[in-house]
């Protein structure tokens, strides 16, 4: 039985293709006596047992969380991805310009963006930012793609519903311009007409490939209000 002894590893410099390269030489495999092997084996088994014993005897290392019971104190990790949302400023305004980069990046057509020319601003404004929770794989590509940092993934995860259609969200709570366009409009009265409030479930959105009354089926990845 040959044994590998990591302490016997040797560092040296060798010439490889004219360059000197630092290498770590593994020691030769040594054949030692029968008794040595038996005792070495027993010793390493005991080492393993010493490592695992504290895990078996104490409760402090347990990572399991008792979910419904600890609901009040549960905090999800910062990077946990469960729900796509718009990043909003203090007045509830988002920064999405409706550029559709996220829609194109989404590998499974979970994002559908409807835009229209704003009457006051004359620019593209998001009418509805439809996110298909039921199709999303939480790959986060939309968040990485967005050039305006309009999207983020939130950690809240209790989204069970009894009707699949409830999993299709509008991310924007108003149809209207993004934050910086908003600031360019100076007239107070005009500002008031900029946005129309919409709810997360406003308007009809078909599920994958199907149609609903008043809303024809859309092809994969096809968006727009047209």
């Amino acid at each position: 039985m040959a044994l590998f002894d990591p302490k016997g590893a040797r560092a040296e410099t060798r010439q490889v293709a004219g360059k000197s390269v630092a290498v770590l030489l593994a020691p030769r495999l040594v054949r030692r006596g029968f008794l040595h092997d038996v005792f070495y084996g027993l010793k390493s088994l005991l080492t393993g047992m010493r490592v695992t014993l504290p895990y078996g005897l104490t409760t402090s290392r347990i990572v399991t969380r008792q979910y419904p019971e600890n609901r009040g104190t549960l905090k999800m990790y910062e990077r946990y991805r469960a729900r796509l949302t718009f990043i909003r400023d203090g007045q509830g305004r988002h920064t999405c310009t409706g550029c559709r980069n996220c829609e194109k990046a989404c590998p499974n057509g979970s994002i559908i963006i409807e835009t229209a020319k704003g009457a006051v601003t004359g620019k593209n404004e998001v009418q509805r930012f439809i996110w298909r929770f039921d199709a999303c794989t939480f790959c986060n590509l939309c968040v990485y793609t967005c050039p305006f940092d309009a999207l983020e993934m939130k950690g809240d995860f209790e989204h069970a519903v009894f009707d699949r259609r409830l999993l299709v969200y509008n991310l924007n709570s108003y149809a209207g311009p993004h934050a910086s366009l908003w600031d360019k409009v100076e007239d107070e009265e005009q500002r008031k007409t900029l946005a129309t409030k919409i709810s997360p479930y406003d308007g009809k959105v078909p599920l994958a490939g199907t149609s609903m009354a008043g809303c024809p089926a859309r092809a994969h990845g096809e968006g727009g209000a047209s």
């Binding site: 393993g48 047992m49 695992t52 014993l53 895990y55 078996g56 005897l57 409760t59 399991t64």
Partner: protein, 373 residues
Amino acid sequence: MSVFSPAAVIAAPQVFEVKTLASRAATALPGSLLESALYVLLAVVWIVALLALTGLALIYLERKIAGHFQCRLGPMRVGPHGIFQTVADTIKLLVKEDFVPDGADKVLHVVAPFLALTATILLLVILPLSPILQAADMNIGVVYVTAISGFGVMGILLGGWSSNNKWSMIGAMRAGAQIISYEISATLALLVVVLFAGTLRLSGIVQSQADGWWIWRAHGVGVVAFVIYVIASTAEINRTPFDIPEGESELAAGFHTEYSGIRFAFFFLAEFINMFLVAGFAATFFWGGWMPFHVGGLDGFNSVMDLVPAGAWFAAKTSALVFLVMWFRWTFPRLRVDQMMRLEWKILLPVGFVNLFAAALVVLYGLYFFPGT
């Protein structure tokens, strides 16, 4: 009449008189048939209760301990801290469909789990839990233990062969090879204790440790024999690191792949009770069984130790050994088949023989502690 004196009571070491249920039945027989039958009934109830309760407790413990070793909690939902989890699982297994696969050897497939469980029950009968809690005792106890624990492999072999499934077949063949190989080393280790105790009777072996347990009274050879016995018997009951017959990664579930419902439960129960038995026998042979911790000659100290009842000593020792075996399971990686065979034939067997020879010399020259008694 002497005045009661606590000092006198403590100074006189307790004499343990072994009364098995079988011997009570035999004594009662000439006088009253009914009394004798009652003792037999008591023995049967005792064995069944031991089987069921130990099984439930061990399976629960195993899952809890497994959980903690893996940074989990284990069962938590059924009852406080999941204590009714195994009860629920048992009920589930009982109401499950009892399935015999197409092309299986029906009779053998049905019989196999019962054979495995029979071997386990036969061993439970002879396990000395305390001077009064032992169903039967016999003068060839060690031979009986060795023979019956080898018999358990029949159930596994038949189960694997009759299932008409390649995984079952390979698993059963591995189990056969493994159990029969390690049987030899386990027996060699037990023979060391037989040499010291001078008897094959289990209660006699326990009583021979009244001056001290063999693990330290027989010093070197005792410790080596104990280590060999623990390794070999872990292999005999197919537990990690020797769970090759049911290696999930390569054999689905090994010999019980095709079993479900109550007959799977029998295999499972037999496996867990075997773990209890192995711990119990290791305690009996090396740690004094139900014998309290005695040091020959220190009568005062021994009497204090006698205050703890014999059954409690057995329970404590067996629990410690059961924990050790579970600890093994959640620490060691599984061996390969060839490594397992090499460990037995090239390491344990030679070491066991040398140890037995050394033990014979130690006994011959009385080189162990308190040889006179």
